[in-house]
Symmetry: C3
Subunit: 444 residues, 3 copies
Amino acid sequence: MSVRELLAALDVSAAGADLHALMARAQPLPRSLTGNGVRATLRLLAERIPLELHEVPTGSQVLDWTVPREWNVREAWVRGPDGERVVDLAEHPLHLLGYSVPMHATMGRAELDEHLHSLPERPALIPYRTSYYAESWGFCLPHARRLELAKGEYEVLVDATLEEGALTWGEAFLPGASEQEVLVSTHVCHPFMANDNLSGIAVVATLAERLATLDRSQRRYGWRFLFVPGTIGAIAWLARNEGAVSRIAHGLVAANLGDPGGFHYKRSRRGGAPIDRLVEVALRDLAEPLEVEDFVPFGYDERQYCSPGFDLPVGSLTRTPWGRYPEYHTSADDLSFVQPEALGGSLRAYLAVAAAIEGNRRYLNLSPKGEPQLGRRGLYRSLGGDEAGRERELALLWVLNQSDGDKDLLDVAERSGVALERLEEAAAALVEASLLRAVPGPDR
Amino acid sequence: MSVRELLAALDVSAAGADLHALMARAQPLPRSLTGNGVRATLRLLAERIPLELHEVPTGSQVLDWTVPREWNVREAWVRGPDGERVVDLAEHPLHLLGYSVPMHATMGRAELDEHLHSLPERPALIPYRTSYYAESWGFCLPHARRLELAKGEYEVLVDATLEEGALTWGEAFLPGASEQEVLVSTHVCHPFMANDNLSGIAVVATLAERLATLDRSQRRYGWRFLFVPGTIGAIAWLARNEGAVSRIAHGLVAANLGDPGGFHYKRSRRGGAPIDRLVEVALRDLAEPLEVEDFVPFGYDERQYCSPGFDLPVGSLTRTPWGRYPEYHTSADDLSFVQPEALGGSLRAYLAVAAAIEGNRRYLNLSPKGEPQLGRRGLYRSLGGDEAGRERELALLWVLNQSDGDKDLLDVAERSGVALERLEEAAAALVEASLLRAVPGPDR
Amino acid sequence: MSVRELLAALDVSAAGADLHALMARAQPLPRSLTGNGVRATLRLLAERIPLELHEVPTGSQVLDWTVPREWNVREAWVRGPDGERVVDLAEHPLHLLGYSVPMHATMGRAELDEHLHSLPERPALIPYRTSYYAESWGFCLPHARRLELAKGEYEVLVDATLEEGALTWGEAFLPGASEQEVLVSTHVCHPFMANDNLSGIAVVATLAERLATLDRSQRRYGWRFLFVPGTIGAIAWLARNEGAVSRIAHGLVAANLGDPGGFHYKRSRRGGAPIDRLVEVALRDLAEPLEVEDFVPFGYDERQYCSPGFDLPVGSLTRTPWGRYPEYHTSADDLSFVQPEALGGSLRAYLAVAAAIEGNRRYLNLSPKGEPQLGRRGLYRSLGGDEAGRERELALLWVLNQSDGDKDLLDVAERSGVALERLEEAAAALVEASLLRAVPGPDR
């Protein structure tokens, strides 16, 4: 069994339904940068994959940063002059500004207003806001409701704790035949929102689940899956694993994988890293349209993995990127916004990239002078004809012609336009015929 | 006298008529992978050029291949139920499947049909088919005639020999001033067909004939012309010349040079070899439209010359490439399909490439600081004006500015857009004025 | 104070008026390749900038050239059959062929005509013609007037001296903090004409004047301004400064800076030199459209600076290039053809390039692992919002992400699209916060 076969066996519709169901289970858990919502989310994933939870205590120094206090909330609301709750966290997880400090006070309409966040241009939606590193409190609400708030006294309660605790992340590792690793990372700090980031969580967990069905010898790489709070989580992981990052040969940051948009790939800082080229070829072979963009130092956690002191070969494969769909970071990014078919297609794309990573090897043509006589080895059509036979022959000729021990199948796939899967099959047949051998050694 | 002057002296119409006449003489000779038809074709060419015939015995190991038995045919036909011959090799050289094994038998219509080849979508044409390496026999015929074959008993005769013999190729070598060589190769294994391959045979032989009119000192390169059976011939030549291929600085595979299409160039496997760039500039200077395509590991014998163990700088300059014209590998590729004007134009293109190869040198500006004062050396117009004079000046300035001992005239021609011929003239004038000297040493 | 601040403080309209006024003062001075007109022009500039005049005696060998005799003219005219002067240098400085040899003779209409130059297709204009290196005399006049010249005897006077003297150039040097230099060169040999070359003279002198207001420590580079007669002047300067040219890190040849056309940049021979990229980014940041062209070995004195024995990183920034506007080298290139606004804009463009050159540095991120926490250093918006704040943040992130000690701000500006000025500000803020340090050492 191989990743390529997992891909071939994938039922996109069934997988999409499963992914959506997993997201629905995780949606109510109160995620934030730290706290019990993150832990609960990770425990849910641990039902499916061998996930370890890591905790770094508040106050720990991680690279240039300090782990903040842990935040947990019991309740939070604003009661109006008439005694009715006009905003209540119990009604919607986005109502409370993330990391709001505990408080209980009464104040006038004007003072309250300084702590309200809404979207005048989209008055029915609740925006998503946080204040992780500047002490503050606040409520987010539809602009329409904000306009209705009458003059008078308001009672405000944020019954939260902001205490010594820990930053938590989840990590699953599937060892492979070699020491080299593939990193797949997604953030787990957003409450409620489906595309950003439940879709990333679900697709990465399911990818891990599928790859875990293989034996270790069937994976050439170790596969490392990270479920981290954004920025500080990736920084904490990097701080705790500085010596190990050199094992990372390829990496992807996952997010926004359920919206109906086409795929988008943001290259690693290196630009021409194998992962950057593998993603393009893998999606080409799927006939999936792909928009490709060079690295910029803002976005998700590729910012950290691609900081110049690490400069890891990590790109980001998403559907519509952050900030480019109107539902982004609002209450409209809910379970109805993400489509099971899109989710299933995203898992398929990630499996295709995984298959490309695993199947890409360098080979050496053992009969490099002239073409070897394929006919007498049964590798050639004897009398012209069928198109599939012709494709197989072209793949054989391309692999033989290019396999000088330096170029890998990815190079051949790019140059020839032949699908990686066809080239992998050709290479296997040629190895079988003793015309080719795989070149050992790490990726470059 | 120089190749450039041969080019200037070429009468394209007269050359075209001569090429067509040579093809007409060669057409009836029964070419195949081996046998007397190949030998007869080579002897015809030897009337014009100093051609040596080489023979490699049946059973010889050449690289990964084994030289097959030699095939010669006396007669071959199918006699129908009414005693009439319904297919007869005497009527058309394409009627017999190439390398059909000897046989004489009687069989029913159905059994016969398994050995017939025709083109249902082009029912009037006879297809060209061979079975060199799988033992078989068969007949090729218009599909319309095949449909008329009545039920009943058929007598089939293939009076051929498939015996110990040899593989034959022809080779002409014109030595030059240096040890470096230019290889021009064409295949000689196709019976009857005019564009593929009589046109290649005629143009290459005539190119050799023209270059042979020069003294050895007038050729910077040795020129080696190969007339080889496809695939196995090139492989046999490579096997017998393994130690010598490092002398090949540039190479071209010729074919399909008489059809009315524009020129097409398939780059060497290296892609940016000097020959790849010289062909483009030479045809640009002729104002001949040229379609350029990167190397692919299928086609003619460039497959062998560009196999990774040799990786020679050999491209292929043709008119319409194989398989892209409807007459390809059918009886419609006859003498009426190829045009004398196209043949003459092809010879002109090959001569232009030869002139570019021979004229391309590196020079060193001996007065590299500032521009030398061209005026006092009579190399500059004193008072502006004529356009030809301006072109000459630009050529002088370009050659002086770029000739740092590293760049060659090809580099200058590409960068400046100035014709190679103008640059050659400028270089000659500057050498004469002691402002420039040619850099010795091999091409890179 | 910095060049960037000089640029910000520039009043384009006032500068344009000043530039035009300077050109008006210089216009009547009888410039040529040598002689008192050149000296008078340089003395006029010396009123503003610390200009030194250099003289190389007639007959001196400079590289491949010999300094010609010095040419000065008192009067020159042609008197017609009726005793009236039909052409008179006193009427227009372009009437006399530059470097006409002294003569006084009487001749018929036909003989005279061989010495007349006019533009049949533009009959109202006087063309500009010279004959520096071939002994000759002649007069230039409107074609319409030429056609009116009656048959009969003409008296011709060229009261000129062509004697042992000198070639004169002007040079101003503003030392900087480092040994590296920026060269700005313009030619001073054209009489009368405003765009070619009074505009170059005025813009370069004014650029020097502005940069001279800085302290030496405020200039990272030494700035060297050359006012040289075309070709021979640049050659003489190169001959006298051969050992010093390695200090030139960047260079520009200025001309045609007052016409109403957009900017045009001709790259150095190297093509990818820092100056080539700095000009493109500086004009991009000004939102000035810029046409860019690769080096060709004809044009102005970049021909000499970019000759292969020097190959200096010198490009040419102009408005409409020589020969591409109909007024070029005619009496129509007068003070009304050049626009004060265009002149002011040209000074602005040169100052912007100077600011880019001076501000471009390599930096090293001192906290390269992960992003440093900008928020706690007050470098980050706490709660999203304003666009200028966002731009500042992007500049910070780009500088941090790319500053690996190898890439410079120019690299970052090209890759990010962020203005160099924003990047310089970001770098300064990050240096202030001890997150970044400038890498010492020369440009590469």
